[in-house]
């Protein structure tokens, strides 16, 4: 599971940058970008505590 949580965390982090970049290139509207950013934020904060700072089994 650790690998899964880590993957979701890193994807969330990537989306945190991707959403504003897509807004920059006019691919997304600002409101869409904000919503995706919030989802990515939730993804990061929900999954990261499950592996970061914890001992590797």
């Amino acid at each position: 599971m650790r690998r899964v949580f880590q993957t979701i965390s890193w994807i969330s982090l990537a989306v945190t940058v991707l959403a504003p970049l897509l807004f920059y290139t006019d691919t997304l509207a600002l409101e869409q970008s904000k919503t995706i950013l919030l989802i990515a934020t939730l993804g990061w904060f929900v999954h990261t505590p499950l592996w970061m700072g914890r001992e590797t089994p």
Partner: protein, 481 residues
């Protein structure tokens, strides 16, 4: 700006964002070989810790100071480089040789009583800094609740709503600091990478909106520079009540905003864990992520606000972040202020507790949080952040000069190092007078009409004054005793 790793009577290592956390062990002994940490630990720690709530105030204040694009970008590049070099060539070499905390090293040189006084100064500055972080977080409340928020030139609380918002945010931060300091540290470590990227998102969104507002296109670096020089950081007169910032202001501000930590030697406590002194260059992660990217991103948001409504000069991170990144942006403002105010209050509490050792840690932290909350109600501290940060570094700088002289020059110049320890002194007058007289000279240089040195620049001559004073006074003092 990092302000949460200053030394106190009970030194606590700031927990880095990355792995390999140095602990708060070895407070009164050199760090042993087995406890030393690699380069990456410092890289992660500095990157995370210098991307804090205060960046959201400092970036906009550059724009309010009428800075031009060249002065800002080049000033930050040079100033941050000088800061990195100061860590690498001043703090880290002593830290990796002595491997002691700042407190313990100062105690050996200055004596316990003088260190207590240093702690008091440190604690007071911490309270004001934590207050400004609470101010930053409280601006987020104004997005949801309608009340009068402070404007750029407000010094005092301007509405009941504002006072209540600060009380709510500050009270929570103080309670959490008193109860669950370690859990907030863990949360801060988790939040750090996300926070850095949200700062980047602020800049990207604001730049796009700037391009749209100007009805221009940015397809190359040249286009961006054109936009930057003509619309974003146009230069010219500062906003009313603000000091005009030139290239040299930006350079010296970037160099000295963490003066307490490099020239002032507070980060001896951190670099005592470094295997090599060149690990000092790891601070470049904090400087060029936090003090370059984050400052530019925050200043972009404010420049956009002025572009869309020139009459709206309010520096309110909450509303600005919400406009750019929605709820995630707002969370970033709250988290950035909270995670940096929390350890600052905790460590201010430790500093005060050193003065009254029998007092309860819980009560002291709570009272300190209360003081910081009251300070946070006064927006003058956050709105004058550029000047306040310069003052903060200046107050603690002379003790760094004392350590420098003690470590490198004392024996060569014919006087004893670690004099308080050798002579059994509780109060080394040579160090105390160096501190007070240096600050006196600096205040004179700033206040005197003949010299009229701005506070951003006075740290440099001040350091040489402190070095000279400690040499002369130590020779006199040690001969007398």
């Amino acid at each position: 700006m990092n302000v949460d790793n200053q030394e106190t009577s009970e030194p606590v290592m700031p927990e880095p964002a990355g792995a390999g956390t140095p602990s708060d062990e070895y407070e009164r002994e050199p760090v042993p070989q087995k406890a030393l940490l690699g380069f990456k630990s410092f890289l992660g720690m500095y990157a995370g810790e210098h991307c804090a709530g205060t960046e959201l105030m400092i970036g906009p204040l550059f724009v309010a100071a009428g800075v031009s694009a060249f002065d800002l970008v080049c000033g930050l590049v040079l100033g941050n480089l000088l800061a990195v070099l100061s860590w690498t060539f001043l703090a880290a070499p002593i830290a990796t040789r002595a491997r002691l905390t700042l407190y313990y090293q100062l105690e050996k040189i200055c004596g316990r009583k003088l260190v207590t006084l240093y702690n008091l100064a440190n604690g007071v500055m911490f309270c004001f800094l934590a207050g400004s972080m609470i101010t930053v977080s409280a601006t987020a409340v104004g997005v949801w609740v309608n009340f009068d928020m402070p404007s750029l030139n407000d010094r005092y609380p301007n509405s009941i709503g504002w006072v209540l918002a600060v009380m709510g945010v500050g009270g929570l931060i103080a309670i959490v600091a008193a109860y669950g300091y370690q859990s907030v540290v863990k949360f801060a470590n988790i939040a750090a990478p996300w926070m850095v990227l949200v700062f980047l998102a602020f800049g990207i969104v604001a730049l796009r909106q700037f391009v749209t507002a100007n009805d221009s296109e940015v397809d190359s670096l040249g286009d961006f520079w054109e936009l930057a020089t003509t619309s974003i950081w146009k230069g010219g007169e500062p906003l009313p009540g603000q000091t005009k910032f030139t290239f040299w202001h930006v350079t010296f501000f970037a160099w000295f905003c963490n003066m307490a930590m490099h020239v002032g030697m507070s980060d001896l406590t951190i670099f005592r864990f470094a295997k090599k002194s060149w690990y000092g260059i790891a601070t470049s992660s904090g400087m060029y992520v936090g003090h370059f990217m984050a400052w530019l991103a925050a200043s972009l948001m404010y420049a956009l606000q002025l572009r869309l409504d020139p009459g709206n000069t309010d520096v309110l991170p909450g509303p600005m972040a919400y406009k750019a990144c929605g709820v995630a942006g707002l969370l970033c403002v709250i988290v950035a202020g909270w995670t940096t105010a929390n350890p600052t209050i905790y460590r201010a509490g430790l500093a005060f507790q050193a003065i009254v050792p029998k007092s309860s840690r819980f009560v002291v932290t709570l009272v300190t949080g209360g003081i910081a909350t009251v300070a946070g109600m006064f927006p003058g501290i956050a709105m004058q952040m550029l000047g306040f940060v310069a003052l903060y570094g200046l107050v603690l700088m002379p003790m760094g000069a004392v350590i420098f002289v003690d470590f490198w020059l004392s024996r060569k110049l014919g006087f004893q190092d670690r004099y308080a320890e050798r002579a059994g002194l509780g109060f080394n007058w040579a160090a105390a007078l160096t501190w007070f007289l240096t600050l006196g000279v600096c205040v004179y240089l700033v206040k005197s009409k003949a010299w009229d040195v701005e506070i951003y620049f006075v740290g440099l001559p001040g350091w040489f004054v402190a070095v000279s004073l400690y040499i002369v006074l130590s020779r006199m003092y040690q001969r007398k005793i």
